[in-house]
Subunit: 277 residues, 2 copies
């Protein structure tokens, strides 16, 4: 696996592959890879004949009080994982390569980008949409793979790519979980041992809600009860716990695919998760 | 010349040309074509082997009090002009083809998009940047051609394409003027006969400023004097008259390319112009 750090080198590799008739998959990551990322890689390897992984800790998607500086970075270990999995190219640009001094462009998604994570983390989705628009235009892949773990992010990215007519298909990949149900996340590393023991309750609560919705339960009552269970379990704050439409994130309506979304704080960590309902 | 109205048909044409090894130029317009537009077409025909012109009156770049409904539209005449000039393909999409019901994405350029026209016409450059990002991603041309008449717009588009890594070169084409100096514009049609007689003063004033700057005159004094001349000539309001850096639009500094920018109202019309200095 080759590693390139400039857009020019990335494009040269892609151009060569195109001339050879390859299909190309893109797996954008911020590194600190875990089995959730590797499921994205696997999906790309199965769907295309050449896979590019990217590692870029995107400063534009971190708020001023967030963990940009402390976000886990270990490119050497990540690189070994990607190479062993069969990734063809790692694109790991510097911040100046992505954002020159004159950089001034922002991409915003109205509505979908303003609610839930968008309201809890102002500027987050603008940062995500902007960097993903760049990566998609840089790589010109056939498909790009994103985890359903960040479900709203997946919808925001799909909306952005469709709206701007970026000709890359946005593919969602199911969340990978620990044996006890906790969704894999690079930020799980922030959990203390005690918090780690509590954390699986997040999935358990939303999975229960999904089950009881299917049995005819009401979304408002189930959400309210679930919120109480999370607080009782030791979560200090629930940013949101909601049953929403699986495409628009508007309040769910019977007969359409729904999603249970949750974000809650546990000590210094903020965890998010979601399940289909 | 073929006319297509869907992104799918546009892409099919482009794909065929790429397979034949053609280079592709894009000339985005809002129609109501005049010799200024045809200069863009000519530049594209000279630089590439296939030229696409687009006609789309983009609602997103009109403010609520602006002239979206009355903007001149005569596609049949425009189409004849383009065909006669040697354009290969006309892309003339409908509003729903460009902006579906769920459309939610906006592109904003900080700084460059907020001053001069950006402050006089809130949302204008967001609308321009968004539609041009779409057109560039739809057509995947090698080069796209824009008039220097809308100088700030040219810089905003160039910044956007560079920032989002859209791999289309943004080419500026010099302003085409009437014999008396008035910059050609589809909106000149709004001028009464008396206003049309006054309008060339706009160019005369900024051309004089450029000449006197070169002779050592001071930007502030010259701008102030020029403003007085425009009001004396019958312009009712000068939105701005400024000597700026030719790349950043910050106040001009000696030794770097500068630009004289002006926007002024004349009756119901609002005219803009600029010259190098």
């Amino acid at each position: 696996m080759e590693t390139v750090r400039t857009v020019a080198d990335l494009r040269a590799a892609v151009k060569g592959w195109r001339q050879e008739g390859h299909s190309i998959g893109l797996v954008p990551t911020m590194g600190a890879l875990h089995p959730g990322h590797m499921a994205l890689v696997k999906a790309s390897l199965e769907a295309t004949t050449r896979t590019i992984a990217t590692i870029f800790v995107n400063p534009k998607q971190f708020g001023p009080a967030e963990d940009l500086d402390s976000y886990p970075r270990h490119e050497a270990a990540d690189s070994e994982l990607l190479a062993a999995a069969g990734v063809d190219l790692l694109f790991a640009p510097s911040v100046p390569e992505m954002y020159g001094d004159d950089f001034a462009t922002g991409v915003h998604i109205d509505g979908l980008g303003d609610i839930f994570e968008g309201s809890a983390r102002p500027g987050f989705f603008d940062g995500v949409a902007t960097v993903v628009a760049k990566l998609l235009c840089q790589a010109a892949a056939d498909s790009a793979f994103f985890g359903e773990k960040d479900y709203q992010q997946l919808l925001v990215i799909r909306r952005m790519a469709q709206d701007l007519n970026i000709p890359t298909a946005i593919e969602g990949v199911p969340t990978v979980r620990e044996a006890d149900g906790l969704a894999m996340s690079s930020r799980n590393a922030y959990l203390t041992a005690a918090e780690r023991a509590t954390a699986p309750m997040l999935f358990k609560v939303i999975a229960d809600i999904a089950t009881r919705l299917a049995a005819g339960g009401g979304a408002a009552d189930l959400s309210q009860e679930g919120l109480g269970r999370l607080i009782d379990a030791g979560f200090t704050c629930v940013d949101y716990l909601a049953v929403v439409d699986g495409e628009t994130l508007a309040p769910a309506t019977r007969g359409r695919p729904a999603r249970v979304l949750v974000a809650a704080r546990l000590g210094q960590a903020r965890l998010i998760d979601n399940v289909a309902a």
